[in-house]
């Protein structure tokens, strides 16, 4: 374990964490403020990635592709909110689970019908295709850009929630929707806007991830699980919490995968280490989550005390 491998792995963990943060931020807001469990969030990520690939195919511009991703996912989110989610806010969480389960099935099949089973193509823009120098290490410029973007979203959403009137209304709506309504604010519009914003963030994540992962059916499911882990670790409803949660999950997952097998090899024979290492590395994130929840059942930085 030298500095040569540690620093790139730290950066990798950071970057992976940022991607998870983009997804988690949208999900935690919707869950924390409207108390709506949106398991279709991963599908919105998929919609974003598909829109990015399609726009890129037609224009060749990465920026337009990302804009397309955000727009596409936001529109899908708005539609879902209007037709389905808004009717379920007052209901039990499990009814949200049921509805979003149905959404996942529907969206996957729609994607297959429209775009076919073949994965789509999108590549890193030339401008970010090279490497940059960090502490003497050559690191992918694109992945570094993801880290920067994540920080920008963190700062931006913090300002949005705590520094603007809209953000104040959102926070008020979370504590006491009726009062907000009585003060003449249309809570329905507020909720719709918030849901759409969460969907837009998911779409952004999809657009950003599309050049480096496979854009295909069901791509949202696996990352959704990790996103749920992030918001639970970070604390529901808290953007700050999902940021730290994402960092923790990203770092533990990345560092665990790289170094756990190596560490195991010091203590046991190679055969056993090769068998146990990856299995333990896969479980590590869940073990850590379970430990954190055992001591802090509401996560590290819950929105409400």
């Amino acid at each position: 374990m030298t500095a040569i491998t540690l620093i790139p792995q730290l950066l990798n963990g950071l970057q992976y964490g940022m991607l998870l943060f983009l997804l988690a931020a949208g999900l935690t807001l919707v869950l924390g403020i409207m108390s709506y469990v949106n398991l279709a969030h991963g599908s919105l990520y998929m919609v974003g990635a598909y829109c990015a690939a399609v726009v890129f195919d037609h224009t060749g511009s990465f920026l337009l592709a990302v804009a397309g991703a955000v727009a596409g996912a936001a529109m899908a989110g708005a539609l879902i909110e209007q037709l389905i989610a808004s009717r379920l806010y007052q209901r039990d969480h499990v009814e949200h689970v049921l509805a979003s389960f149905g959404m996942v099935l529907l969206l996957n099949e729609l994607a297959r019908t429209v775009w076919g089973p073949q994965p789509l193509f999108l590549t890193v823009p030339k401008a970010l295709g090279g490497t940059i120098d960090i502490f003497g290490i050559q690191y992918s410029a694109y992945r570094f850009a993801i880290v920067v973007l994540g920080l920008a979203v963190l700062v931006g959403s913090h300002y949005l929630i705590h520094g603007t009137r809209a953000g104040m209304l959102v926070r008020a709506g979370a504590s006491n929707p009726r009062m907000v309504g009585a003060l003449g604010i249309n809570i329905k519009v507020l909720n719709g806007a918030l849901f759409t914003f969460g969907a837009a963030l998911a779409g952004l994540a999809g657009g950003i991830a599309a050049p480096i992962v496979s854009v295909q059916l069901g791509m949202g499911e696996n990352i959704l699980i990790l996103t749920l882990v992030v918001i639970v670790v970070g604390g529901i409803g808290s953007i700050k919490g999902s940021f730290y949660g994402a960092l923790i999950v990203g770092l533990i997952d990345t560092l665990g995968r790289s170094f756990l097998p190596l560490i195991l090899r010091e203590t046991m024979n190679r055969e056993l280490a090769n068998a146990a290492g990856p299995a333990l590395a896969s479980m590590l994130v869940y073990v850590v989550m379970a430990v954190i929840l055992a001591f802090r059942p509401k996560g590290l930085f819950p929105a409400r005390g």
Partner: protein, 372 residues
């Protein structure tokens, strides 16, 4: 053409939805293309194909095979896509004696101790492509090989297959998580180890993810990448230039130069507007094989044992798009394994044959199969 003596019913089981759909789609398209060319007949007899979607779920595969055998009363089943789904379908197949032709998976179990007289693979035995890559890398004099694969049975089998023919000790064998999308950590590890070659097994989405990220890290062209089941017709369209220079071990590629293959690739491109993958080729071959077998069995085609025997001997007679083909004692293919290189992913003919790795190759498990 003799009198029609019956209706041949074939069940076709592959994943048609979810992430694995792209593989299932190719197999079905290849099979359907052949059926079209055979004018909807197998062995001259009118044929019905019942296509089912196993969604790459073993438990569904088990249910579907029972439905096809007991309710639809099919004469043969084709497809059986992924290893874990195939294994779930094995017992009903063996118990019923129904002739089954795999166009994808053939695990070491079914090639060795679990072999059956009615289970065939017209595609390959799972280890083959890795063995071919291993031989080529061995002969190429590479001394520092770094290996990566997902942490499941097939990954372990691929490493075993590679090492069967690559005699030097490998630098490292890294198992990644199943379903992992981000390989930056492993690629960083790889770079630190300074290998002179990399061998990977990443089917499906994982392959696209890995190759994209490998290329993005600037390693494409710097470290030769050898692989099995990672880069093929289903992933090239979404990889494009990121795949350039990659070398694959396989028993078939669209670039192969024999008359059947040239016609098949041209017909496939004309009908489906894309280059066929090895899965499509296997689907096509399966139909042609069945056609020859039903013809051979004659009016006895409805007798499962006789059809199975006919399939076995038809293996040496039908014209496979890959060239030389016959069945081994364990009903696995004996065929050549080549090494292919992606020269220019966006060209009309992206891949070139680089060499013949293993000639008339038998899999390593044939001896463990009691069949003759």
């Amino acid at each position: 053409m003799g009198a029609a003596y019956g209706q041949v019913k074939v069940g076709f089981i592959t994943p048609q939805s979810g992430p694995a759909a792209v593989v299932g789609q190719d197999q079905l398209d290849g099979f359907n293309l052949a059926m079209e060319q055979l004018k909807g007949r197998l062995g001259g007899q009118p044929a019905t194909v019942i296509a089912e979607d196993d969604q790459a779920k073993p438990d569904l595969g088990n249910q579907i095979i029972k439905k096809l055998i007991e309710r639809e009363k099919v004469d043969a089943v084709v497809g059986l896509s992924f290893s874990n789904v195939m294994m779930a379908m094995l017992k009903p197949i063996v118990d019923s004696g129904i002739p089954a032709i795999s166009t994808n998976a053939a695990t070491s179990v079914v090639a060795g101790p679990g072999c059956a007289a009615n289970f065939f693979s017209v595609a390959w035995q799972n280890d083959g492509p890795a063995e071919a890559a291993g031989k080529y890398v061995n002969d190429g004099g590479y001394k520092r090989v770094f290996m990566l694969a997902p942490n499941y049975q097939a990954g372990k089998d691929m490493f075993a297959g590679f090492k069967r023919y690559y005699k030097t000790a490998v630098l490292d064998e890294v198992y990644t998580q199943v379903g992992q999308t981000d390989y930056s950590a492993e690629i960083a590890q790889l770079q630190a180890a300074k290998p002179d070659a990399v061998f990977v097994f990443y089917p499906g989405a994982a392959g696209i993810n890995f190759v994209k990220q490998f290329s993005q890290a600037g390693l494409n062209g710097k470290i030769p990448m050898f692989s099995a089941f990672t880069i093929d017709g289903t992933s090239l369209p979404s990889l494009r230039d990121a795949a350039n220079g990659a070398i694959t071990g396989a028993s078939w590629d669209a670039s192969m130069d024999n008359p059947q293959n040239k016609k098949f690739v041209a017909d496939f491109k004309a009908k489906y507007k894309r280059i066929p993958s090895q899965f499509a080729a296997a689907g096509f071959d399966a139909a042609m094989l069945l056609d020859a077998a039903v013809k051979k069995a004659g009016p006895d085609y409805a007798d499962k044992k006789k059809l199975a025997a006919a399939i076995k001997s038809a293996g040496s007679e039908f014209k496979s798009v890959r060239g030389a083909f016959r069945f081994n004692n364990n009903n696995m293919p004996i065929h050549n394994y080549y090494v292919f290189k992606v020269e220019n992913a966006t060209a009309a003919n992206p891949v070139q044959t680089v060499g013949l790795a293993l000639e008339n190759h038998s899999d390593a498990y044939a001896r463990q199969c009691p069949l003759k």
